[in-house]
Every structure is written in structure tokens, then in C-alpha cells.
């Protein structure tokens, strides 16, 4: 009963903080540009494919055609439309990035806060495990795993990526929880005799939300790096439509170094990934603004 009341009492303040968050997002110009960039890529990779048809038709007379109204970004080594490939190749990149980011952050939040709150042997166990994990050369391990298991399942790859990348984040979350635990309002809650669960979920976690969001985004960029890198080495590929990484690999092996005409073909997916990463990283600037309590007025 008490909890339910507390829950309803919280609702408006949540909405308020949401609108305030949006205002704060717009305050940092670079960050807001990043935010718009992320929105653009979500639209580009998830909505545009509905309107742009898949182009798998070989046109021998139109190999490496320059950009035109028919082919916005020209054509590839088989005369297929590059723009269409770009539109359809983004979904996997975005989905893997988001799922990996979400799983990694979830693991990190669970292990990190457990470690910080419980302390003792749980803490030393989780931290030793994290230390050990960090010593494993990640990208090489991924490359080996990708070559041995057929990693053409989006969720499987995302799981694998997050299993490899949780330790750094876990440490960060742990130290964050440790520092928040020292704050006055947590001390106050504790002296009021509130339960540990209440302290973690109602006092500490809300104050970490933006930090967690930033961590999520950095986990996403790491996932994009690994996924596109593996695809570039030819170690993973997804069924029908090529993801950006696979397109880069194709363009590269079909001789992007030798054919000057294939400039657009290789640069389109390269710039797509680069700009997506850039948008994500810039977006964190706005989140930092939200995160920094000194910038939050009247909360």
C-alpha cells in the first residue's frame, strides 16, 4: 500500500524530469546534433527499408555507375544500387549495437551494484573475475569464435559481444555506486531505516540513470566496432542483405584500391558507420549535461 502510493506520487515528477531532460539535451549543441544524428540513423535503417526496394539485379552495363537520380550513390561491381544496399544494411548494425549495449549495461549494473553493495567476498570475486576477463585479448578471441561458430545469428552475436565487454563497465558502475553510497541523502535514507532494496532502487539508481545511459551508448559503439570489424575480416555475414561491414568487405575485396570508380561504393558504408559512431559519441555530451547534478536546477 505504502509502495503503491509512493509509486503514484512519483509519476508527475518523472514526466517533469523527462521534459527537463529534453530541455537539457537541447542545451548542448554538439550533443543535440548527435541526438538528431542517432534519430536520423534509426529512421534510415529501420523505416526507410519499407520504402526502398531491395536491389539484387545484376546489370552488366551499369557496373560502377556514377551517382545519378536512378542510383543516388551509384552502383557496385555487379551494377546493383548502392543506396538500396546502404538502406537495407543498417538494420543489423543498429540492432546488434542496441541489444549488445542493453545486455552489457544490464550485466554491468547487476554485477557492479551487487559488488558495491554486498562487498566482502562477492566484491572480490566479481572484481577478480573482471580483472581476469580484461586480460583476454577481446578482438582476437572474437575473431576466433566467429570463425569457429557460424555467427550469423544477430542475438547470438550480441550475447557474445556483451559477454566479452561487461568487465570495464562493471568496474565503472561499481565505483559509481560506491561514491553515491557516501552521499548525504543515502545516509539520510539509511538513518531513516529504509530497506537496502529501497536505497538501491529508489535512491541510488535514479541518480545513475544518465550515467547508465552514457555507458549504454559507449557499449553500443564498442559493439559496432567489433561487429563491423569482424564483418570486414570476412568472419561474419548475415543472410540476404549485406550489413555495412559486409559491404565494406565486398567493396574492399572487389578492388576498391584499384578501381577509382568504386569510391562511392566503399565510402558510403564507411561513412555511414563513422557518422553513426560520431552521432552516438556526440550524443553522450548532452547526456553528460543531464548527468552532471550541478547543471540540474530545481530537481
Amino acid at each position: 500500500m505504502m509502495q503503491a502510493q509512493a509509486f503514484y506520487a512519483r509519476q508527475p515528477s518523472f514526466l517533469q524530469s523527462l521534459s527537463q531532460t529534453l530541455k537539457l539535451l537541447a542545451r548542448n549543441k554538439v550533443g543535440f546534433a548527435g541526438f538528431l544524428g542517432v534519430l536520423f540513423f534509426v529512421f534510415f535503417a529501420l523505416v526507410l527499408p519499407i520504402f526502398v526496394p531491395i536491389d539484387n539485379q545484376t546489370r552488366m552495363d551499369k557496373i560502377y555507375a556514377p551517382a545519378s537520380w536512378d542510383h543516388l550513390l551509384g552502383t557496385d561491381f555487379q551494377g546493383r544500387d548502392v543506396f538500396s544496399q546502404l538502406v537495407h544494411g543498417g538494420r543489423e548494425v543498429l540492432v546488434i549495437a542496441f541489444v549488445t549495449g542493453a545486455i552489457t549495461t544490464f550485466l554491468a549494473v547487476v554485477f557492479g551494484s551487487l559488488s558495491a553493495v554486498l562487498g566482502g567476498w562477492v566484491d572480490s570475486f566479481i572484481m577478480s573475475l573482471a580483472d581476469l576477463w580484461l586480460a583476454i585479448p577481446q578482438f582476437p578471441v572474437l575473431a576466433v569464435l566467429a570463425s569457429l561458430v557460424k555467427l550469423n545469428n544477430v542475438i547470438l552475436l550480441a550475447l557474445l559481444l556483451s559477454l566479452l565487454s561487461w568487465p570495464t563497465l562493471t568496474r565503472a558502475i561499481r565505483s559509481q555506486v560506491l561514491s553515491l553510497r557516501q552521499r548525504d541523502y543515502v545516509e539520510a535514507a539509511r538513518s531513516l531505516g529504509l530497506s537496502t532494496r529501497h536505497i538501491i532502487f529508489n535512491e541510488i539508481m535514479p541518480n545513475m540513470m544518465s550515467y547508465i545511459a552514457i555507458s549504454l551508448i559507449f557499449a553500443m559503439t564498442a559493439a559496432v566496432y567489433a561487429q563491423a570489424g569482424l564483418a570486414f575480416l570476412g568472419l561474419i555475414s548475415f543472410s540476404d542483405n549485406n550489413s555495412w561491414g559486409v559491404t565494406i568487405q565486398l567493396a574492399w575485396t572487389k578492388g576498391a584500391i584499384f578501381f577509382r570508380d568504386s569510391f562511392l561504393y566503399i565510402m558510403a558504408p564507411v561513412l555511414a558507420i563513422a557518422l553513426f559512431q560520431l552521432s552516438l559519441v556526440s550524443f553522450t555530451r548532452s547526456l553528460e549535461e543531464v548527468f552532471n547534478p550541478r547543471l540540474r536546477t530545481g530537481v
Partner: protein, 363 residues
């Protein structure tokens, strides 16, 4: 840990043996760190060994497939040839293979490559590792020193146009994956503008150049390593700049800096021995971590630039399922990462007096 804490609380009472006690703890700490490092290496080798062996497909199958495709031979023929070529028994139980491998490893024997006839894994590593160490090491050195210097400039000139330009540059280059920057450089400056002769810059050395302490050799080595080094520097410098900037800004607010100013010390002296030294300290641990990341990333960079280092060999071994070579390269990379971390930890204790005394109590 518990004994540590108890002894520390006892320490003030036993004033006479304080120095003796301190050294015992210090030695203890070093010893524990070394043991931890060795244990880490052991676990990583074990885990990677089983990951590699327990996965489907093996070098013999790959070889048989290659033979069948290449020479149109029947499965039986290819299998016979494979059996003659591979003096290994992949049917032995995995645990037996593991014990054999560890036994040989203790004797310093990394095994032989399955595919390069008779080549020892140690020889392969000896041949290719120096190139990776050279390019990655040089790049990390350049990007760390340059990044720390630029980060201090940013902190001293914060909120000025220079700071904005440098910050934007730093976040721009550190957010784009290094292999994409490598591709952009090759495609733009190599094939489009034809400023760089990509074909000539491939490899780690030009054919016919004799190794030795000659101007020609050194020049050639630098010529071939220039692009990989440039890409490593460009993609790692941003994070050093940003980390150093925030670290310096925090240090500038410390009381001892204000006191140093009040004492009328020269600005250059304050900048180097008061601010710079303390601000750069936390970055050393990051340097150790980044070594592992950059060496791991060398798989991609070396493949793109066709630079003959350990990363390229790893990819080759992966594609051929050359287990011993894969295992050996993993071992080397892991040892490099673990010892870099160990060195950073021990060095950190030496460099930072606060840690030297307090490391056992603060937690």
C-alpha cells in the same frame, strides 16, 4: 587482505620495526601481484585452449576441403595426404592434448605450426612480433606524449577557441573506428588522389633491403610502418587528450598548486613538476590497458595495410585453423597485456607516494 589490515593497525605501536614492516608489505604486494599475473595467464591460456579445441571444424578437415577443391581429388586421397602431412593426432582426448600442450609450454616449447611445414610457433612469433611491437609501441609512445602535452594545453587554455578546436578534433578521431580511418586514408589518398603509393608501402620492409644498422634499412622500416603508426596515433590520441585535460583541470584546483603559485614559483616549474606529474599519473594505468586493445586491433590494421606483423599472422592462422599458431599468438598477446598491467601497477606505486603508503588500507 585481513592480515594486512590487522598489521597496519598494529604498525604505529611497533615504531622500531616500522621500516622493516613496510618493506615486508611492499615485497608482499609485489609478490602477490606477480602471482596474480601468472595465474591470470594460466587461466587465459586454459580457457582459450578449450575454446579453440572444442569448437567445430579442425585443421585437417579444412585441409581436406582445400585439397579436394584445388586438385579435384577424392575425399579418400585428400584424407590420406592429410594423414601423411599432419603428424598430429586430433583424435586424442582434449584433456590429453591439453596436458601435453601445458607440459611442452613449461619447457618453453610452443609447438609446431600445422600448416607451415615444420615451422616452430616460437619462430613464427619471433619473426613477426617485432614488427607489431615496433609499430604499436612507437605509435603508443607518440600518441601518449603528444596527447598528454595537448591535453595540458587544452586545460590551461580552456574555454578558448583553441580548446574547442582541439576538443572537437579529439572526440572526432576517437569515435571513428581505426580500421575505417585506415580505409579512408588508403582509398582517398591512395587510389583517388594518388598521393600515396599504396602498393609500394605494403609489407613491413621492401624486398632486398638487408636488416642492419644502416640508414637505408631504418628509412625503409619507417616508410612501411608510417601508415599503421599514423592510424594508431590518430585513433588513440583523442582519448589521451581528453583524459589529460580533465585530469589537469582537476589538479589545477588542488591546494598545493595554489600554494606553489603563492610561493611565487615559476609557471613553467609549476606546470611540469606540480601539475603535469600529478595529472599524468592516472593515465599510466590506462596506457597499460590500451596496449592490449591496440595489439588486439592490429589484426584489422595489419590486414588493411598488409603489414607483416603478428595480427596478420593471427588472421592467417584463424583462416587455416592452425591451432598451435593461434594458441601461441594468444599467449603472447595475453602475456603482453598482463605484464603491461603488472608494470603499470608496480610503477604506479613508485610514482605516486599516496598510493605507496595507502594502497593496503584504502579500498
Amino acid at each position: 587482505m585481513a592480515t594486512q589490515a590487522i598489521s597496519t593497525s598494529l604498525a604505529p605501536q611497533k615504531r622500531t620495526s616500522l621500516k622493516v614492516y613496510f618493506w615486508r608489505v611492499a615485497n608482499n604486494y609485489v609478490l602477490r601481484r606477480v602471482i596474480k599475473a601468472l595465474a591470470t595467464i594460466f587461466v587465459v591460456i586454459t580457457v582459450t585452449f578449450f575454446i579453440i579445441r572444442l569448437m567445430p571444424s579442425n585443421p585437417v578437415d579444412i585441409f581436406i576441403q582445400e585439397q579436394m577443391a584445388l586438385y579435384n581429388s577424392s575425399y579418400q586421397e585428400a584424407r590420406d595426404r592429410a594423414a601423411a602431412l599432419f603428424a598430429i593426432d586430433l583424435t586424442a582426448p582434449v584433456t590429453q592434448q591439453y596436458l601435453d600442450y601445458m607440459g611442452n609450454l613449461l619447457r618453453g616449447d610452443l609447438g609446431k605450426s600445422y600448416r607451415s611445414q615444420g615451422a616452430g610457433v616460437a619462430d613464427i612469433i619471433k619473426q613477426f612480433l617485432p614488427w607489431t611491437l615496433f609499430s604499436v609501441g612507437t605509435a603508443l609512445f607518440i600518441s601518449f606524449t603528444l596527447g598528454v602535452a595537448l591535453g595540458m594545453v587544452m586545460a590551461y587554455r580552456r574555454e578558448t577557441p583553441l580548446d574547442y578546436v582541439l576538443s572537437t578534433f579529439a572526440s572526432l578521431v576517437s569515435s571513428i573506428p581505426n580500421y575505417l580511418i585506415a580505409i579512408i586514408i588508403i582509398v582517398t589518398f591512395g587510389s583517388q588522389l594518388r598521393i600515396l603509393n599504396i602498393a609500394q608501402m605494403r609489407g613491413s620492409i621492401s624486398p632486398g633491403v638487408q636488416p642492419g644498422f644502416t640508414l637505408k634499412f631504418i628509412g625503409d622500416v619507417l616508410y612501411h610502418a608510417a601508415l599503421p603508426i599514423f592510424v594508431y596515433v590518430l585513433t588513440t590520441i583523442g582519448s589521451w587528450m581528453l583524459a589529460m585535460k580533465s585530469s589537469t583541470v582537476a589538479t589545477l584546483e588542488e591546494d598545493y598548486v595554489t600554494v606553489a603559485r603563492a610561493r611565487g614559483l615559476k609557471d613553467s616549474r609549476i606546470m611540469t613538476s606540480y601539475v603535469g606529474r600529478n595529472a599524468a599519473l592516472p593515465l599510466f594505468t590506462q596506457l597499460a590497458i590500451s596496449i592490449g586493445f591496440v595489439v588486439g586491433g592490429s589484426v584489422l590494421i595489419e590486414t588493411i595495410f598488409v603489414y607483416q606483423g603478428i595480427g596478420q599472422q593471427l588472421l592467417k592462422a584463424i583462416n587455416q585453423r592452425d591451432y598451435p599458431v593461434m594458441q601461441g599468438i594468444f599467449l603472447i598477446i595475453t602475456v603482453a597485456v598482463v605484464f603491461a598491467n603488472l608494470l603499470a601497477d608496480l610503477l604506479y606505486g613508485r610514482l605516486d607516494p599516496r598510493i605507496r603508503v595507502g594502497s593496503e588500507e584504502t579500498k
